[in-house]
């Protein structure tokens, strides 16, 4: 078990380093730099003195060779210092720390909704013996996956905010403001959970142990929830780990549509301004969340299915 954890941790560190390096290189390949981006953003206000831009570029170190910049930034990043965002002058870590709680609230609510709605749908669809209801329920997830989040968000705002006045159209205020954005984000996520869970539930229900349970006289609900669902939830759990990354990515769109503050908005603004330190901070931080969640998921597997650790330990032993 310890060996397994150490191996996974090492992998996680590798993923973080790769995320940092790749994002650095991609940003470096982009034409321009944050200073020119700022000068360009005010292009409606007139052209900026070239000497001034050169001086500023020097001040921020954007005139140094790429490798020197990389080494410099990586060294400081290892000590937890991602520098200051060029567009605002605020420390990157502080900017992210301010935005994080909002996004956690949003993605947390969305994940919960996705699990409840998606899980509920899958259980119901596989439990019902009415063929038409099953067909109807099973056709919902593909629909949920294929409608663009952007569109769903605007549709919900239009209906529940502009016309019915139930919820505010924008802002981070309170629980009421969380409902529409969380629902928007939960729809594609919940749909994916439902798809995977429904499929594995159907597979599980064909297994011999289900027959055995039935033969022993267990009720339908008991067989469905206690026996089949427990085994079928493993693939769904894997998907949830991956979906966390998708939720964070989805927050870029949802936070923009609903005018919420959060990591998504910070990301969108940082990319537009080509604010290299801030984008790097976002990338590494996003990778950190993704890696952590998947690590947790990996560690939860053995609790659901003891065979997993045995297998990996045995493999490690042979190697």
């Amino acid at each position: 078990m310890r060996r397994y954890v150490i191996k996974r941790l090492a992998q996680a560190v590798g993923v973080l380093w790769a995320a940092y390096t790749v994002s650095f290189l991609v940003l470096d390949f982009l034409p321009g730099d944050p200073v020119s981006a700022m000068a360009g953003a005010g292009m409606d206000s007139g052209q900026v003195d070239p000497a001034r831009i050169a001086a500023l570029r020097h001040e921020y170190g954007f005139d140094k060779p790429v490798l020197a910049q990389y080494a410099d930034h990586l060294g400081r990043a290892l000590r937890g210092d991602f520098g200051d965002a060029v567009s605002t002058g605020r420390p990157v870590t502080a900017t992210l720390a301010d935005a994080l709680p909002q996004t956690l609230r949003l993605t947390g609510a969305a994940l919960l909704l996705a699990a409840v709605l998606g899980g509920g749908l899958a259980v119901l669809a596989t439990y019902t013996s009415r063929r038409w209801l099953r067909q109807l329920l099973l056709s919902l997830p593909p629909l949920g996956v294929s409608v663009p989040t952007f569109w769903v968000g605007l549709l919900l705002v239009e209906a529940f905010s502009f016309r019915l006045h139930w919820f505010p159209a924008f802002g981070n205020d309170g629980l009421r403001g969380l409902v529409l954005p969380a629902l928007t984000l939960a729809i594609p996520t919940g749909a994916q959970v439902a798809q995977v869970l429904a499929k594995s539930l159907l597979t599980a229900l064909d297994q011999a142990y289900v027959e055995t349970a039935r033969a022993k006289g267990a009720g339908r609900w008991r067989v469905h929830l206690r026996h089949a669902l427990r085994n079928a939830s493993l693939p769904a759990l894997t998907v949830v780990g991956l979906l966390v990354g998708q939720l964070i990515a989805g927050s870029v769109v949802v936070e923009t549509v609903f005018s919420r503050d959060g990591l998504g908005r910070v990301t969108a603004a940082a990319v537009t301004a080509q604010d290299i330190p801030l984008v790097q901070g976002v990338v590494v931080f996003g990778a950190l969340i993704f890696v952590s969640v998947n690590l947790i998921v990996d560690l939860v597997y053995p609790l659901l299915d003891p065979r997993i650790v045995v297998a990996s330990d045995r493999r490690a032993g042979i190697a």
Binding site: M43, D49, W151, F162, D261
Partner: protein, 539 residues
């Protein structure tokens, strides 16, 4: 695993359809009620909620360049002078009077007495000096303010309420610059802070509103300054502002902004584009617009390129562009086709629409005379070389691409093949400075005609690579004269030289458009087409 379908074009069209139908329905639904019609006498109190599209991450008026943020932070500071948006005349504000030396190098301001900042400190000549001393050190975000003060020799305190600003060269534009938000006067305490601190926490000003709260990417909240009694000479209300509070909400999606205004969740919105207009017409909303002063949207020609050195080719381009079609199809309703290099809201603008009329026959004969003969594909050629122009553009406004696609069609009609080349906004300054372009789509907002000198004088950066000539001396002369009539005459001459030599192809004016609920009164544009909220009240 199943593959996800791609949402490319369908996503876009369904979204547009949704916005069009959905918002139109809303517009019908909210038509009946309301108290907009009859407006009684102006009354104090209330909160105005204003939705803007973006947050620039900075709430220091001296460092902000984006309209969405200027709308709010402008209200926190007063300027030495104000500019009448109708006449362009400079009028008193914090300075009750001023003298400009005849060479336009020295400006002496006599400050109003009894002005205090919201931290209780007094406005003195020393505070003004501290401000002007600090501006050149603002850094990356302060380039606009720094530009206004370039060539600054010294600022001296003559007596506690008199301050003298001296420049190395004649600098007639400085007087107008003192009316801008960029040179708004901040308290000594604020001036001593670093540019980053000022950005993040805001500043102490003497304006009719104080910054109550700034939540990044969310909102900027202003509260009325009690005891305010030194408003601009242009304002109708004396003393403090009407509104208790103004809340600027950041709402990036234009459809959500329009819907929020229609459904009464906000009282005013910024950046209304042509696509939003249909949804906002009727109901309890009025659209308010004003053309931005400065250099109009147009084709900035690289006059050093062999093809564009030929004045006949440049004049042909000027004659081949159908400005009205572009203004009427792409830009908000009411947008004017260019009538000069300057927009009609710029002081000393001269109407040269006769020189800018569409005349394809003239364009064709000019090109014929220049030796460019029409080929079998309709594109002209000379010596086996096609008449091809590359227009470089940047995605800083949604109207750029459709406007240029029309230009492309219009020029093709006279036999010029246009290639559109899109670059990133961050590449703008480098592209223009290195001259690595043939034609560039650009505009500049500035409420002083001296913008012609910064844009076109060959003695400065000379972004468009004009040949040195009589234009330079005219531009230099207008910067050195303090006599308004003489200056207007010189500025008129400069516009004629620019248009007649076709150094720049004026196309269309940039228009700022706001959506305002009918119950809101007195929300006025200032000379830079931004808002002034001191006289605003809710009925």
């Amino acid at each position: 695993m199943r593959a996800l379908p791609s949402f490319g074009p369908t996503r876009r069209s369904s979204l547009t359809a949704l916005l069009a139908t959905g918002l139109l329905l809303t517009a019908c639904g909210s038509g009946g009620d309301g108290s907009g019609g009859a407006s009684g006498p102006a009354r104090s109190g209330g909160t105005l909620t204003f939705a803007v599209g973006s947050d620039s991450g900075c709430v220091d008026p001296q460092q902000v360049g984006s309209n969405d943020t200027i709308y709010s932070v402008r209200q926190i500071v007063d300027s030495l002078t104000d500019q009448n948006p109708k006449t362009g005349k400079i009028v008193p504000w914090l300075a009750k009077s001023w003298e400009v030396s005849s060479d336009a190098k020295t400006f002496t301001f006599h400050l109003r007495s009894g002005v205090t900042f919201s931290d209780g400190s007094e406005l003195t000549a020393q505070v003004v000096k501290d401000n002007f001393d600090a501006v050149p050190k603002l850094g990356a975000l302060g380039t606009l303010a720094e530009g206004y003060l370039s060539g600054l020799e010294s600022t001296t305190v003559v007596d506690p309420l008199t301050v003298k600003v001296t420049f190395e060269q004649s600098n007639a534009q400085f007087l107008q610059a003192t009316s801008t938000h960029s040179l708004g006067i901040e308290s000594s305490a604020s001036v001593q802070r670093t540019p980053q601190q000022k950005c993040a926490d805001g500043v102490i000003g003497s304006g009719p509103f104080v910054l109550k709260q700034y939540v990044q990417n969310q909102s900027i909240t202003l509260a009325r300054r009690t005891g305010y009694d030194w408003g601009s000479a242009l304002w109708s209300k004396k003393g403090a502002a009407y509104l208790d509070k103004v809340v600027f909400k950041v709402v990036p999606e234009s459809g959500v902004r329009s819907g929020s205004l229609q459904s009464g969740q906000v009282d005013a919105i910024g950046s209304v584009g042509r696509a939003d207009e249909a949804a906002l017409k009727g109901g309890q909303v009025t659209l308010q617009s004003r053309a931005n002063p400065g250099v109009v949207f147009g084709l900035g020609l690289n006059n050093a390129r062999p093809l564009l050195k030929d004045a006949r080719v440049r004049r042909a381009i000027v004659a081949a562009v159908d400005r009205k079609q572009i203004a009427d199809t792409v830009f908000p309703t009411g947008t004017r086709p260019a009538t000069s290099v300057l927009a009609h809201t710029t002081p000393d603008w001269t109407d040269l629409s006769a020189d800018l009329a569409l005349d394809t026959a003239k364009a064709k004969s000019l090109l014929d005379a220049a030796g460019w003969k029409t080929g079998s594909d309709g594109i002209r050629a000379k010596g086996g070389k096609k008449l091809r122009l590359t227009i470089t553009w940047f995605p800083n406004a949604a109207t750029n691409q459709p406007a240029l696609e029309l230009v492309q069609q219009q020029l093709k009609a006279v036999g010029i093949d246009v290639v559109l080349k899109q670059l990133q906004v961050s590449q703008f300054s480098t592209t223009v400075q290195t001259g690595d372009y043939e034609v560039v789509w650009t505009n500049v907002t500035r409420s002083d005609p001296d913008i012609l000198r910064s844009s076109f004088s060959t003695r400065l950066t000379n972004f468009y690579h004009l040949p040195a000539g009589s234009l330079d001396s005219v531009l230099a002369a207008q910067a050195a004269t303090t006599d308004t009539a003489t200056r207007a005459e010189l500025v008129g001459q400069a516009q004629k030289l620019l248009v007649q030599n076709a150094y720049y192809v004026p196309v269309v004016e940039l228009q700022t458009q706001l959506g305002v609920a009918k119950k809101v009164h007195g929300l006025a544009f200032d000379s830079g087409s931004r808002v002034q909220l001191h006289d605003t009240w809710i009925g």
